[in-house]
Amino acid sequence: MKNKLFLAIATVAVAALMASCAKVPQEALDAAKAALDSAKTVQTDVYFPAEFAALNDSLTVMLQNIETQKSKSAKDFKAIKVAAEGISLKAAELTGNVEAKKAEVKAEAETMMAGAKTALDEAKALLLKAPKGKEGKAVVEEMKNELTVIETSLTDAQTLFDGGTNYVQVVDKVKAATESINGIVGELKAAMDKAGIKY
């Protein structure tokens, strides 16, 4: 009888000890989630998509590890706390880098827009001197139409730029416009060279 009582007490004591020996590092976990939310708010997912996805993945792994530890009789959350702190740090670092990256892409967009406008003015000026040989007038009219459409596209890009939501999109849009303008300028210069017109 004494033996049975002793065994029961020992078992309960061990079980209680094991169940209560560790707790989820909730504070670190909440901080990591908050850091990731902040990172998304400043568009880390737009400017550092791979890094942001990797961090999200780290958070998923961490949440998984928490449940793994909770499923065990002997729990250990030390590594999870370290991981959560690491995520917070990395997210904060990325958040800090976004502004610099945004500024970089914004500057690139600005430079490209200025370049596109200069090219557009050059194309317009060349159009005035363009040779009007066989079907030349029709070609000039077509180019004028194209430049009008490109100008509208550049205005759209400017609106997108002013909105500041996604400078990467602005860069892509302006790139297409610039390539189109350069194509027209190239055609005009080739036609003018052929006709012996100086530009």
Partner: protein
């Protein structure tokens, strides 16, 4: 302490230790294994699908995979709240397996879809570039509505934007743009082609007029003028044989017959030179006035007034000439035929009052015209 008591204590202690260790072993053995491997497999499968951009290419399957993963995690959390020995991870494993299947399907579908979108984008860009170039070769000089030309230009820019998406491997965005470009490029091309097909329905008349004019020139061994709008040329025939061909320019709305004053169209039909003008009597270097409107033109004009195609106060117009000051590279006259001054000088030498002037759309059939432009 008695020797017997000490022995008892030692025995009890050993028994207690053995029982405790046994208890721990038994307890641990009774704790169910956490479903970590299954859940990890699901997470890894989703991460792979995400890296392949399944969110973009297979959004439904990817969403389903994620939802199943979330369900697995929720079921795991629920089980972890129960007493450790009675936990059951069956649903966790079930949802994890489902998540793996969906994520793998998403990845597979993504690979196939991105490949198909890439191929489609590539072939559409190539097709539309060809169609765009064909449009420019065939229709650029035609009097199409400004709106149509603007749409064509918009389509052209969209192709360029799609090309940039292609370079960046953004095939979904690229396909959206190329679809829009197709509406503009193919839309304008088809509409312009339809207009031209409508115009070429007059081809049998043009053929008759041209043959009659050349036959008459041969029969009377005299000069005759045949003007073609497509391609824009003026032929001078002598004794039924082509003597000279000059480039010509027409009214800005030249595709079609002249219907009334101010429509900027060049008339089509059989005419005669009525007057030769030079020096101060014309502002276009030299000119050959023709008898527009002729009898047929007047009949057609009256018919159009009667059936309401023209307003009652419309007038038929006059003073159509073949004149100089051409070579401007476009169709700029108000309905006359313009030649370069040097060509006009040449023509003026051979033509006299009464010389037949036949103006037609083309001596080429529509198919011949297209194949000549497609080369």
């Amino acid at each position: 302490m008695k020797k017997g008591s000490l022995t008892n204590i030692i025995v009890y202690a050993i028994v207690a230790i053995v029982l405790t260790v046994t208890g721990i072993i038994v307890f641990r053995a009774m704790v169910p294994e956490p479903p970590q491997p299954e859940v990890e497999l699901a997470r890894a499968a989703i991460a792979r699908a995400r890296d392949l951009e399944s969110e973009v290419y297979s959004p439904k399957l990817f969403r389903e995979a994620k939802n199943n993963y979330d369900s697995a995690m929720a079921a795991w959390r629920t089980q972890n709240e129960r007493f450790i020995l009675v936990r059951d991870y069956e649903r966790v494993i079930y949802f994890s397996d489902l998540a793996v299947k969906k994520a793998e399907a998403a990845a597979k579908n993504t690979i196939a879809r991105s490949k198909s979108l890439k191929n489609n984008l590539e072939s559409e860009m190539s097709r539309l570039n060809r169609e765009m170039s064909l449009f420019e070769k065939i229709f650029l000089s035609m009097p199409l509505p400004q709106d149509m030309k603007k749409k064509h230009a918009r389509g052209k820019l969209l192709i360029k934007e799609a090309e940039i998406d292609f370079q960046k491997e953004k095939y979904v965005d690229g396909n959206v743009k190329i679809t829009e470009a197709n509406e503009y490029i193919s839309g304008t091309y088809n509409l312009a082609r339809k207009n031209l097909e409508e115009y070429f329905k007059n081809y049998p008349d043009w053929q008759d007029w041209a043959e009659e004019t050349i036959a008459e020139s041969k029969k009377t061994n005299s000069y005759a003028i045949l003007v073609e709008k497509i391609p824009p040329v003026l032929h001078l025939y002598q004794g039924g044989k082509k003597k000279y061909t000059f480039e010509a320019e027409f009214g800005s709305n030249w595709l079609g017959d002249k219907k009334s004053r101010g429509d900027m169209a060049t008339p089509e039909g059989k005419y005669l030179v009525t007057k030769k003008l030079s020096g101060g009597s014309t502002k276009y270097h030299k000119a050959l006035m023709i008898n527009y409107p002729n009898k047929t033109d007047v009949q057609e004009f009256n018919e159009r007034i009667r059936n309401g195609q023209l307003p009652a106060d419309a007038s038929i117009g006059d003073l159509i000439e073949i004149h100089g000051d051409g070579g401007k590279g476009g169709n700029w006259t108000q309905g006359c035929v313009a030649l370069k001054n040097s060509d006009m000088d040449m023509l003026f030498k051979y033509v006299s009052k009464g010389t037949p002037v036949t103006i037609i759309g083309s001596t080429l059939t529509l198919e011949e015209f297209f194949s000549s432009r497609e080369k």
